[in-house]
Subunit: 339 residues, 2 copies
DNA sequence: GTGAAAGCGCTAACAA
DNA sequence: TTGTTAGCGCTTTCAC
């Protein structure tokens, strides 16, 4: 059942078996072969608990998500996972379960239990207590998406991304641009939506365009929210409604496209729509977007904490790339609408 | 740093401290309070590895997913997670990473390492080797979605679900019905798509409707795949194309709706579309569907393995409920098209 | 290249 | 109600 059995069967010592199993160089090749063979025959299954106890390393890292069912989180999680598996580490998922998930207990009960060697936090806003509790473990930590005070983070430069999107619209001749963003209902880092909105507002101001107060709409970072926002925004006559909508996420942009379709608006003839993310569905419907790569961000984050676990100093991570992907949902405003 | 410190500070024994920390009834309340207070002051963080070693229970369960970025898996994962957290267990995520993810190593390297007390497999097809390796650990196991030989499973009755959907269409008067399903590119249980397709074919046959060979289309269980399938299926004239499409998943149905919109078809006037799942986006676009609740299935699965870990016998789980949700994407076929 | 022995931090009899 | 004593299964000096 354990290493001991292999030892008795082979007539070796536990120590040697342990070394052989790990393929340490100080073991004769023949011994290694023999041990491995016997281990196989016996159906030996190593115990990571025992190894973890002995070494102090669990070979596992925790990933904390505010909620699980968001495109960005799922993708990022996949990236973290890929890199962890390559490194032979396990992934322990801590899902805060949205605003109703009882965060406190989840935090102390699990994340702190030395079950993992490091933590990757997805777009989290931590309060004082949470932060100090996490510090307790002295684990390497990194945040994906949105800056977090006192922690390294990987993610796009949100204001710049917003600027890129807005400048695309401005470049096409749009002046009447609305913004759909808003607070994610369920725990997204407060910073991200605000930073994108600010990027929008400032770029517009820089171009000398005013933004009516009603054109900063909350789309709750979801498809449904985007559809609702779009319905409100696009309900009016051609003179009243924007000629373009900038959405802080593709999921919302898809919702706006849906709303436009329902209202009989042609895209991009009557309306241009641009999003942020690079969601797969966007490609199918021709959504112009500023694409980022959350999976890559996840991989970067994983590598960063893994390195730190191995004793490397925590160097800051450069901003993740984001590129404008022009498709068919954006085009010049109709003649005569331009002003 | 450990339990020992608390022991020396309080003047108690390690054993009592251990008991106090766990709030065992055999400990004086005053002692419990004292121990907890000191533990707090010392910033004590328990080691699950040590506890696991001592008890043989890791208080963690593994969830194996073929790929992470699918609606069903994400939802089910959320359900499993919710129940695990309630029970104070951690969730270790094993992502096979699709067809290219190197499955074998992932399997033996991680899942077998006694890191978890039980396993929840999401829609997995296991081969012989995999199954026997998993058996090695003697862990309680359960499958969500699609029957798996020799394992308990929770999920909907796929043939029945298909029948429900098709009968809805038949009831509306449709006779020219196409099916979009197909093998998931990335590891979905082979059984599920086939069982749904068979349910479709048999129900059609039972109603005396023939299904042209070209009307069983592969939508790859994805949005993009559905859109492509729809484009192919709906390209012809009104006489050539089906009056209704039954999709084995909502994501594909959404793709078909998109294709229909692009081709200028009115739904449900020119075409009815029905899916399976209950995807949130479906509600927004009025997609009729047979809704299931993967989150509930996840919770059920988690409870089942948790109970088995606690020594309960593995009783079979009844099929998960699925209900027809009629929205606006289905209606009677146009007069004259009926035949 | 291999072995002996001492833990890692906790829990679980068995006593007291 | 609390303490004593063994481990859980592995890794790791330090010898040989």
């Amino acid at each position: 059942m354990g290493i001991q059995e292999i030892a008795t069967v082979t007539g070796l010592s536990k120590a040697t078996v342990s070394r052989a199993l790990r393929g340490l160089p100080s073991v004769a090749d023949t011994t290694i072969d023999q041990v491995r063979r016997v281990a196989d025959e016996l159906g030996y299954v190593p115990s990571s608990a025992a190894a973890g106890l002995a070494t102090g390393r669990q070979r596992a890292v925790g990933v904390v998500v505010p909620v699980i069912d968001r495109w960005f989180y799922v993708k990022a999680l996949g990236g973290v996972d890929a890199e962890l598996r390559r490194a032979g580490h396990d992934l322990v998922l801590y899902n805060l379960g949205g605003p109703d998930g009882d965060r406190d207990r989840a935090f102390r009960r699990s994340m702190l239990r030395h079950r993992v060697d490091a933590l990757v936090l997805l777009s989290l806003v931590l309060d004082e207590t949470e932060r100090s509790e996490l510090q307790l473990t002295r684990h390497p930590m990194i945040v994906i998406g949105g800056p977090a005070p006192g922690l390294r983070n990987v993610g796009v430069d949100d204001p710049a991304v917003a600027r890129l999107a807005v400048e695309h619209l401005l470049g096409l001749g749009h002046r009447r641009i609305a913004y759909v963003g808003g607070q994610d209902e369920a725990g997204m880092n407060v910073a991200v939506p605000y930073r994108r909105r600010d990027g929008f507002v400032e770029t517009m101001r820089g171009a000398g365009c005013s933004v009516p107060r009603g054109w900063l709409v909350d789309g709750r970072f979801s498809f449904a929210g985007g559809a609702e926002a779009g319905t409100v925004l696009l309900g009016g006559s051609a003179d009243e409604r924007p000629s373009a909508v900038f959405c802080a996420s593709d999921e919302m942009a898809l919702g706006v496209l849906l709303a436009a379709a329902r209202l009989g608006l042609h895209v991009p003839g009557d309306l241009s729509v641009i999003g942020i993310d690079g969601h797969e569905h966007g490609a199918v419907v021709g959504l112009t977007t500023v694409a980022q790569d959350p999976e890559a961000q996840g991989r970067t984050a994983a590598l960063a904490v893994l390195a730190e676990v191995d004793g490397a100093p925590p160097v800051p991570v450069p901003p993740a790339p984001a590129t404008l992907v022009v498709r068919t949902s954006t085009g010049p405003p109709r003649e005569g609408r331009r002003r």
